[in-house]
C-alpha cells in the first residue's frame, strides 16, 4: 500500500523594520539582554501599543510578492496565553481579519502551494536556561513577525523544502527580512498527516512546532511521516497533537494532546484601531517591488540565454544576481559574464554568507569592461582569465592591469604577419592538416601564442591560419 504525505506549513518570519511593531525600540538581533526594551515592549502596567506602519507595509509587500489579496480593512487581536517570555500574557496578533489572504507560490514543477493567509504579530522574548536558572531576555519581544500559513498542499518533503526556499528567497528579494534561520528570523511549524494514495479526505494531523533549520524540517517530516504510517499500518489511530523535533535523537516527541490545547481566547485588541489600507497604498507598494526571483530566472534564461543551472545559481543570491545584471550590461554574450562570476569569482567566496552578501572585491563595472574587451577581441579569453585573477587580487582597474602586464590584444594585421610566419615555420603541421589531421593546427597556434606571449586571440588566429593554408 502506498501512503501519501499531506503537509501544510506555518512560517514565521521576522521583519527587518528598524523599530519594533508597537514601540520605538530597535529590532537588532542580539545585544546585551534586556537592552532593546522599553515600558511598552515589556508590557509595564499602563503602557499602550502603537502600530508601526512600516510593519504593515512590509507585510503587504510580502503578500503582494506571494500573489495574495490584500485586505483593505484589517484589525489586531489578542491571543491570550501565559508564558514567562510573553510579558503581557497575550500576544498581539491577527485572528479573523489578516492583512493578506489567498496567495500562492509556484514550485519549479509548476505546481502551486496555496497560501491561506499572512498576518502580522509580535515576537515573544527568549528564555535562557543557565546554571540551573532561567533568565528572560525581552530584546526579541515586540519584534515584528509575519506568519505565512499555507494550505495543506504539500505532498512531499522536497516540496516542503522548495516551498521554504522559495519563500526565503522572495522575502530576501523584496527586502522585508534577512530570513537568517540560524538567528531564528525564519521559523516553521509543520502540520502533517498521511493518507492512502488516491484518498481525498484528510487524515488526522499532528503539528511539529518551531523548527529553524530546513535540514531539521526535512528530517522531522520524514520521521513523522513514517511514524504515522507505522501506527496506521499496525491498526492504530493518529492522535491530534502538538509535537516537537528532537534533533539529538532525530525523532519527534509529543508536547501536548488535543485536550490540552490552549484556548487562546482571541478577541479584538481594544488598544489599537482598525488598519485601513487604500488601493493607492497597495498600488504604491506594488510599484516598489523589485523583480522577483522567478521573473528574474525567466529573464536570465529567455533573454540573457543563460543555461538554466547557471541562471538558478545567480538568482539564488539576490545581490549576486544584481551584480551580474550590472556587469552584463550591454554585453552581447552574457554567458561570458555568468561564467566569470560562477567560476573564478565564486571560488573566492567560501561561505554562503559571502555569496549572500556578494562580497566581490571589485565593482561590477570592472567585470563589464573586461568582458567588453573580449567581445571587441581586444583580449582573448585566457588572457581575460589571468587579468581577472589579478584584478581581483589587486582591486586595480582593468586597463591598468592589462597595460601593466602587457596583456593588450594584438591587432589583426600584426597577427596576420605572425600567422604567416607560423605557417612557414611549421611545414610539417601544414602537410598533416592538409591530409585531414585537424589537430595538427595546434602546433601552429602554439607557435603563435609563443610569439605573442599568449596575447593572440586563438579563435581569430586559427581562422587566419586556415585561410592562409587553404589559399596556398
Amino acid at each position: 500500500m502506498t501512503w501519501e504525505l499531506v503537509g501544510g506549513l506555518e512560517t514565521h518570519i521576522e521583519l527587518s523594520t528598524k523599530t519594533k511593531i508597537f514601540c520605538q525600540c530597535t529590532t537588532q538581533f542580539g545585544g546585551e539582554p534586556n537592552t532593546h526594551c522599553c515600558p511598552v515592549c515589556v508590557g509595564l502596567p499602563g503602557t499602550l501599543p502603537k502600530l508601526n506602519r512600516a510593519v504593515v507595509e512590509y507585510a503587504v509587500k510580502a503578500g503582494l510578492a506571494t500573489n495574495c489579496k490584500i485586505s483593505n480593512i484589517s484589525k489586531m487581536d489578542r491571543k491570550n496565553y501565559v508564558y514567562p517570555d510573553l510579558p503581557k500574557a497575550y500576544q498581539i496578533s491577527q485572528y479573523d481579519k489578516p492583512l493578506c489572504r489567498h496567495g500562492f507560490i509556484t514550485l519549479s514543477s509548476g505546481k502551486n502551494i496555496n497560501i491561506e493567509r499572512i498576518h502580522i504579530e509580535e515576537d515573544a522574548g527568549k528564555l535562557i536556561h543557565e546554571r540551573g536558572n532561567t533568565f528572560i531576555d525581552y530584546n526579541r519581544g515586540g519584534v515584528p513577525l509575519i506568519e505565512i500559513v499555507s494550505e495543506p498542499d504539500i505532498r512531499s518533503i522536497d516540496e516542503a523544502v522548495e516551498y521554504i526556499d522559495k519563500l526565503r528567497l522572495i522575502m530576501k528579494y523584496i527586502g522585508v527580512s534577512d530570513v537568517k534561520m540560524q538567528e531564528g528570523s525564519l521559523r516553521c511549524d509543520v502540520n502533517i498527516s498521511v493518507r492512502k494514495k488516491g484518498d481525498t479526505a484528510l487524515g488526522t494531523r499532528t503539528e511539529i512546532k518551531n523548527m529553524n533549520s530546513i535540514n531539521f524540517i526535512a528530517k522531522a517530516m520524514e520521521y513523522e511521516f513514517n511514524r504515522q504510517i507505522d501506527i496506521l499500518e499496525s491498526g492504530g489511530e493518529i492522535e491530534q497533537e502538538t509535537r516537537r523535533y528532537n534533533s539529538d535523537l532525530n525523532i519527534t516527541e509529543s508536547m501536548r494532546g488535543k485536550e490540552d490545547a490552549t484556548d487562546y481566547r482571541y478577541f479584538r485588541e481594544p488598544d489599537l484601531v482598525t488598519i485601513a489600507i487604500s488601493e493607492d497604498e497597495i498600488n504604491k507598494y506594488k510599484s516598489e517591488l523589485p523583480q522577483l526571483p522567478d521573473e528574474k530566472l525567466k529573464t536570465f534564461i529567455d533573454e540573457f540565454e543563460l543555461p538554466e543551472a547557471d541562471a538558478g545559481l545567480l538568482v539564488k543570491y539576490k545581490k549576486v544576481a544584481e551584480y551580474f545584471e550590472e556587469a552584463a550590461k550591454d554585453i552581447k554574450n552574457k554567458k561570458l559574464v555568468a561564467n566569470f562570476i560562477l567560476g573564478q569569482i565564486f571560488r573566492r567566496l567560501d561561505t554562503e554568507d559571502e555569496k549572500e552578501e556578494c562580497r566581490i572585491s571589485i565593482p561590477p563595472g570592472y567585470l563589464n569592461e573586461l568582458v567588453m574587451l573580449m567581445e571587441k577581441k581586444k583580449i582573448n579569453s585566457s588572457m581575460a582569465r589571468t587579468a581577472l585573477e589579478q584584478i581581483l587580487d589587486s582591486g586595480k582597474p582593468v586597463m591598468e592591469v592589462i597595460s601593466e602586464k602587457d596583456m593588450g590584444g594584438i591587432d589583426e594585421d600584426t597577427l596576420r604577419k605572425i600567422c604567416e610566419k607560423a605557417v612557414e615555420a611549421n611545414e610539417n603541421a601544414v602537410t598533416q592538416y592538409l591530409s585531414g589531421k585537424e589537430k595538427a593546427l595546434a602546433a601552429i597556434i602554439g607557435f603563435i601564442m609563443k610569439e605573442t606571449r599568449g596575447k593572440a586571440d586563438a579563435v581569430l588566429a586559427t581562422e587566419i591560419v586556415k585561410q592562409l593554408i587553404n589559399n596556398n
Binding site: 515600558p39 515589556v42 508590557g43 509595564l44 502596567p45 499602563g46 503602557t47 499602550l48 501599543p49 502603537k50 502600530l51 489578542r78 491570550n80 501565559v82 514567562p84 510579558p87 503581557k88 500574557a89 497575550y90 532561567t134 528572560i136 484556548d263 481566547r265 482571541y266 478577541f267 481594544p270 488598544d271 489599537l272 484601531v273
Partner: protein, 485 residues
C-alpha cells in the same frame, strides 16, 4: 466660583505662597486622612518641591498656567514615575513605575502640585472603594457611608478639602458615581479625548481619565488641560475645542432628552431632586423631550461581559515575574504564577477575571462575548439616533445616594445594578458628567447626570455650568473638614 482661579489669584497676588498653600493641604491630609482614607500615598516632598518652583515663578512675575500651583490628587491607577503605583492591589505593592502617564506628564509640566495617590477599588473594580487592599475611602459628608467607587479616594480627597481636585478614571461610572456620592462634579470625557497612556488598564475599550472637582468651571479647566492628542495612545484624539471659555453660552433652545428607563426603580429622594433639576432647565429655556430607550436594559450585561473579558486579558501580566508581589515559596514557575495571583488579587478582581475568561472561552464566546459586542453596536447606534433629535440626555447618576459601609458585601448583583445609569456612556464612548442636584432625607448628596454626543464635551460642561449658576446655593454643602481658604 472656580476654586482653581480663586486660589491662583491668591498666589499671584501674593496673599498666599504656594508652599504655604501646599503645607496647609499636607497638614490637613495628616489630620483627615486617618479617618477618610482618601490617600494611599502622600507625596509631600514632591509637592513642596513643586510648590517652591511655583513660588519662584511668581516672584519672577511670571503668569501661572491654568493648573499651576494647584494642589491635587491622582488616582492610584495613574502611573507616576518614581512614585509607587499600586492600583490598591496587593499584587502591585511596592511597584515603582519608570515612566509617567501622559495625563500626569501634562500636569507635571504645568507644575501641578501632586499631594498624593488616592484610594480606589482594586484595579478600579467596584462601586464603593471597599475592594481596595487598603480598605475603603469614606464619605466626608457622613463617614458611615462610602465615598463611592471606584475613584472613591479622589472624591473623598476633594470633598474633604484635602485636594483642590483629583483625577480619577471612569470605566463604568467610577468618576461620576463617587462624585455623585460626595456632592462633587465628576466628568468622564468622550472616549479618546484624554490619553489612556499610563492609566493602568481595567477595560481598555471603556476606560477614560476624568476630573473630580468641586465645581463645573474647575472641571472644564482641568478637561481643557488634559484632553489633548497623544501619539502614544492609538485611540487618542484630543478635544475638538476648549470648553472653559464656552461655559457662559446660553442653553436656550437646547434639547434635553430623558429616557424613561433610567428612572425605573430609583430612590424617591433622587427622583425628586432630578425632577427639580429638569424644571430648572425648562426655566433656562431648554426643551425637554421624553422617550423610551429600550436598549438600556442591555447595558449592564453588555458592560459586565465586555469589561470582564478585557480585564481578564489586561490583568494577565501580573504574574510575579517582573514586578510587584511574588509569593514566598513555590515549586516551579507555574506554581509561582498561580500562587502569586491567588494571593495577590482580591476576591472581586478574581471574580471578574474568571467571568471574563469564561465569556471568552471556546464554546461560550459566541453566546456571551460576541453577543455582547453585537449588542454594544446596537446600543451605540441607539444613542447616536437619540442625539439626532437631542443635544443632551439627562439622567440620575446613581439610583441611590451613598451606600452605607459594607453594602456591597451583600448580593453582588444588587451592587452591579447600581451602575445602570452610568455604564451606557462608557459603552457608547460618550461624554458624561455628574453634578449635585440636591440631598436626600439623610442629607447625603444626590447626583444628576448629563450625557452628550461623542466629542460634544463642551456642550455637557456648558449645560452643567448654566444649571450650577442657578442652583449653586442649593446643591453644594461645603464640608467642615480640611483646608478652608
Amino acid at each position: 466660583m472656580s476654586n482653581i482661579k480663586y486660589i491662583q489669584n491668591l498666589l499671584e497676588t501674593k496673599q498666599l505662597s504656594c508652599v504655604e498653600l501646599t503645607r496647609k493641604y499636607l497638614d490637613a491630609i495628616e489630620k483627615e486622612n486617618k479617618q477618610l482614607n482618601a490617600y494611599v500615598k502622600v507625596t509631600d516632598q514632591e509637592a513642596l518641591r513643586t510648590a517652591e518652583q511655583v513660588d519662584e515663578k511668581i516672584s519672577g512675575g511670571e503668569k501661572l498656567r491654568p493648573l499651576e500651583g494647584i494642589p491635587m490628587s491622582l488616582k492610584d491607577n495613574i502611573v507616576t514615575k518614581d512614585i509607587e503605583t499600586t492600583c490598591c492591589s496587593r499584587i502591585l505593592k511596592g511597584y515603582v513605575p519608570i515612566y509617567d502617564a501622559t495625563v500626569w506628564d501634562v500636569l507635571k509640566k504645568q507644575n501641578a502640585v501632586l499631594l498624593g495617590k488616592t484610594n480606589m477599588d482594586e484595579f478600579a473594580m467596584g462601586s464603593s472603594c471597599e475592594t481596595s487592599c487598603f480598605g475603603g475611602a469614606l464619605n466626608p459628608h457622613d463617614t458611615k457611608h462610602v465615598a463611592g467607587g471606584s475613584s472613591g479616594g479622589a472624591a473623598s480627597s476633594v470633598s474633604g478639602n484635602i485636594a483642590v481636585y483629583g483625577l480619577g478614571s471612569d470605566t463604568g461610572g467610577s468618576v461620576r458615581q463617587p462624585a455623585s456620592f460626595c456632592g462633587l462634579v465628576g466628568f468622564k470625557p468622550t472616549y479618546g479625548a484624554v490619553s489612556r497612556y499610563g492609566l493602568v488598564a481595567y477595560a481598555s475599550s471603556l476606560d477614560q481619565v476624568g476630573p473630580i472637582a468641586s465645581n463645573v468651571e474647575d472641571a472644564a479647566i482641568i478637561y481643557d488641560s488634559i484632553a489633548i492628542y497623544d501619539s502614544k495612545d492609538a485611540t487618542s484624539q484630543g478635544a475638538r475645542t476648549s470648553s472653559a471659555d464656552k461655559l457662559n453660552n446660553s442653553i436656550k433652545g437646547m434639547r434635553i432628552g430623558i429616557a424613561r428607563e433610567y428612572f425605573e426603580g430609583i430612590n424617591g429622594d433622587v427622583q425628586k431632586s432630578i425632577e427639580r433639576a429638569i424644571k430648572v432647565y425648562e426655566d433656562l429655556g431648554a426643551e425637554i423631550i421624553y422617550f423610551d430607550l429600550p436598549q438600556i436594559k442591555y447595558v449592564l450585561p453588555v458592560y459586565y461581559i465586555i469589561a470582564c473579558a478585557e480585564a481578564s486579558s489586561n490583568l494577565g501580566r501580573y504574574d510575579g515575574i517582573r514586578y510587584g508581589y511574588r509569593t514566598e515559596s513555590y515549586a516551579d514557575i507555574d506554581d509561582m504564577i498561580c500562587r502569586t495571583r491567588s494571593e495577590g488579587f482580591g476576591e472581586e478582581v478574581k471574580k471578574r477575571i474568571m467571568l471574563g475568561t469564561y465569556v471568552l472561552s471556546a464554546g461560550y464566546y459566541d453566546a456571551y462575548y460576541k453577543k455582547a459586542q453585537k449588542l454594544r453596536g446596537s446600543i451605540v447606534k441607539a444613542f447616536r439616533d437619540v442625539f439626532k433629535s437631542c443635544d443632551l440626555m439627562l439622567a440620575p447618576t446613581v439610583p441611590t445616594t451613598a451606600f452605607e459601609l459594607n453594602f456591597t458585601s451583600g448580593d453582588p448583583v444588587e451592587t452591579y445594578l447600581t451602575d445602570i445609569c452610568t455604564v451606557s456612556a462608557n459603552i457608547a464612548g460618550l461624554p458624561a458628567l455628574s453634578i449635585p442636584c440636591g440631598f436626600d432625607s439623610k442629607g447625603l448628596p444626590v447626583g444628576m447626570q448629563l450625557i452628550g454626543n461623542s466629542f460634544e464635551d463642551c456642550k455637557v460642561l456648558n449645560a452643567a455650568y448654566q444649571y450650577e449658576q442657578q442652583m449653586k446655593e442649593k446643591i453644594y454643602k461645603k464640608s467642615e473638614r480640611g483646608v478652608r481658604i
